[in-house]
Amino acid sequence: MLTARTEQLPVREQHDIVSVRQVVRSWCLALGLGLVDLTKIVTAASEIARNTVDYGGGGTLMLEELRDGLRVGVRLVFEDQGPGIADIERALADGYSTGTGMGLGLGGTRRLVDEFDISSTPGVGTRVAITKWKMR
């Protein structure tokens, strides 16, 4: 797998969430993602960016354009140095449709993307990577 290009964005305040949506949108348009897939990944990015700002105390987004054989993709890696998430299983429980979970919206966000990877260490920070693929 090859990383064709990268770009880093700050995710520190509310206006950055809007910028994240706009930059992710333009990357996905350039990759030729369909409208539904594009809407899903932009929405997922918006959800994670808001968590980074609201709960992570701000952080960064690294965008990566991926090439892997017959497919191209975009990976979004959000990192913060916030308080971290002690119970990831609970955070991934679906807060919106079932009334359980922590209300971080991670369960719903996971359904919008092809790959979802989260790691978090209390007191150190959180890293969330989401990926959407498209056949070339």
Binding site: Q14, Y96, G108
Partner: protein, 134 residues
């Protein structure tokens, strides 16, 4: 500070969201609409989101809150023009906008509001038990 304009058309308030809203702008709209409903005795609110390409959980909750506050203030809200990709994404995300009335476009939303406003007007002139559509 920027704001989403609220237009008054007779008994109805009209909002068309044409920008990618940051959270504060969405919260401001919620406040402005609540105030406008009270100030004008509005019975119906129409929110056009046809130019909105992303509705995330925050904005979805904002729409639901607006509809909820409007209902408590005796007004109904219709959200119109949702793009199909946005609808698919919202449902997959786990938000079904329960309690929010929707219509395909401004015309249909306006017709629905006018019918509700008219029947509310008729209701206030007679105490007969009308069909009581919520």
């Amino acid at each position: 500070m920027d704001r989403i304009p609220i237009l008054r058309m007779g008994p109805v308030l009209l909002v068309s969201i044409q920008v990618d809203m940051h959270d504060q702008l969405a919260l401001g709209l919620q406040d402005d609409l609540s105030n406008a409903i009270t100030a004008h005795g509005t019975k119906g609110v129409l929110i056009d989101i046809s130019a909105v390409s992303v509705v995330d959980s925050f904005m979805g909750r904002m729409l639901a809150n607006i509809a909820g506050v409007a209902r408590v203030l005796d007004a109904i809200t219709v959200v119109v023009g949702m793009q199909p990709a946005v609808a698919i994404t919202l449902v997959e995300l786990g938000l079904s906008l329960e309690g929010v009335r929707t219509a395909l476009n401004v015309e249909k939303g306006m017709a629905h509001l006018q019918a509700v406003v008219a029947s509310a007007g008729a209701l206030s002139h007679s105490t007969d038990d009308a069909d009581g559509a919520d």
